[in-house]
């Protein structure tokens, strides 16, 4: 009896696992060709294109993204950068870079002292669980970086 029970449970579980693998495989085929290119290296390359040889320092950026995003189609992203936002000292640009999407560039924002404070909110797509980078470029050319790991339940790129 207990053996039978075990077998039944096992076979049901096997079925579920098989079904799950099938889904993953289908999703994999859809994303694989471009996703493979979009790893950390792509993000590094984009960052070099955006800020050149400047080495971004940690700090100054508060990055608010839920750790667990159920819907990868619209993940809320909040960014705020410490800065007086005066004519002499302000945040010039904020770049959002994805380490796990088919393409690494998400968005780049241009700010000015007229913004008063460097704080933005937007929603982004995430194809899968990944690290998101935010780079802030200051008016003196220095740069800061923040990273955040986000787990995505349902990818949002298709």
């Amino acid at each position: 009896m207990s053996n039978n029970e075990n077998e039944r449970r096992l076979s049901r579980r096997d079925l579920l696992v098989a079904a799950g693998t099938g889904l993953v495989a289908v999703a994999g085929i859809a994303l694989a060709p471009r996703a493979a290119l979009a790893a950390e290296g792509e993000a590094d390359k984009l960052m070099a294109d955006l800020i050149g040889a400047t080495k971004p320092a940690e700090g100054k950026i508060t990055l608010t993204i839920p750790e667990l995003a159920e819907n990868g189609g619209a993940v809320p992203v909040g960014i705020s950068v410490e800065s007086p936002m005066t004519d002499k000292d302000y945040v010039k640009a904020i770049h959002i870079i994805s380490e796990g999407n088919p393409t690494p560039n998400v968005a780049s924002y241009t700010l000015s002292p007229a913004c008063g404070k460097a704080s933005i909110n937007m929603r982004m797509r995430m194809a899968k669980s990944q690290k998101v980078r935010v780079v802030a470029v200051m008016s003196d050319g220095s740069a800061y970086i923040a990273r955040k790991d986000v787990k995505v339940t349902t990818g949002g790129c298709g």
Partner: protein, 110 residues
């Protein structure tokens, strides 16, 4: 097309001089990333809003360049400092060349 993609913007009607206020924006737009297929299996051509320009009394104050990872019906909020009464113009452009614009007025007191 223009009606379908009408942008919605929220700016306070009045602000005190020097006050920092939030500008909330969203545009109805599919942000097609070019990798989605319709129900017949045809690839839906890529068309995303790739640019936003914000001017405060004619002066560039904020801008955005967007990639395919910006969600459909893009929402964006940012801040501006109330210096003088006037107009805030927002202009979005998508890759089909369509342009969506809206103008908000703000009265700055004191």
């Amino acid at each position: 097309m223009a009606d379908e993609n009408k942008p919605r913007v929220r700016v306070p009607k009045t602000a005190k001089k020097g006050e920092i206020f939030e500008v909330k924006t969203s545009v109805t737009h599919p942000m097609e990333n070019g990798s989605r297929k319709d129900k017949d299996g045809n690839v839906v051509p890529r068309n995303i809003i790739n640019k936003l320009v914000v001017k405060y009394n004619g002066k560039d104050v904020f801008g955005g360049d967007f990639g395919t990872a910006v969600s459909a019906n893009p929402f964006l909020s940012f801040h501006l400092k109330a210096e003088e009464s006037g107009k805030i113009d927002l202009t979005w452009t998508d890759e089909s060349g369509a342009v969506f614009t809206t103008t908000e007025t703000i009265t700055v007191e004191g």
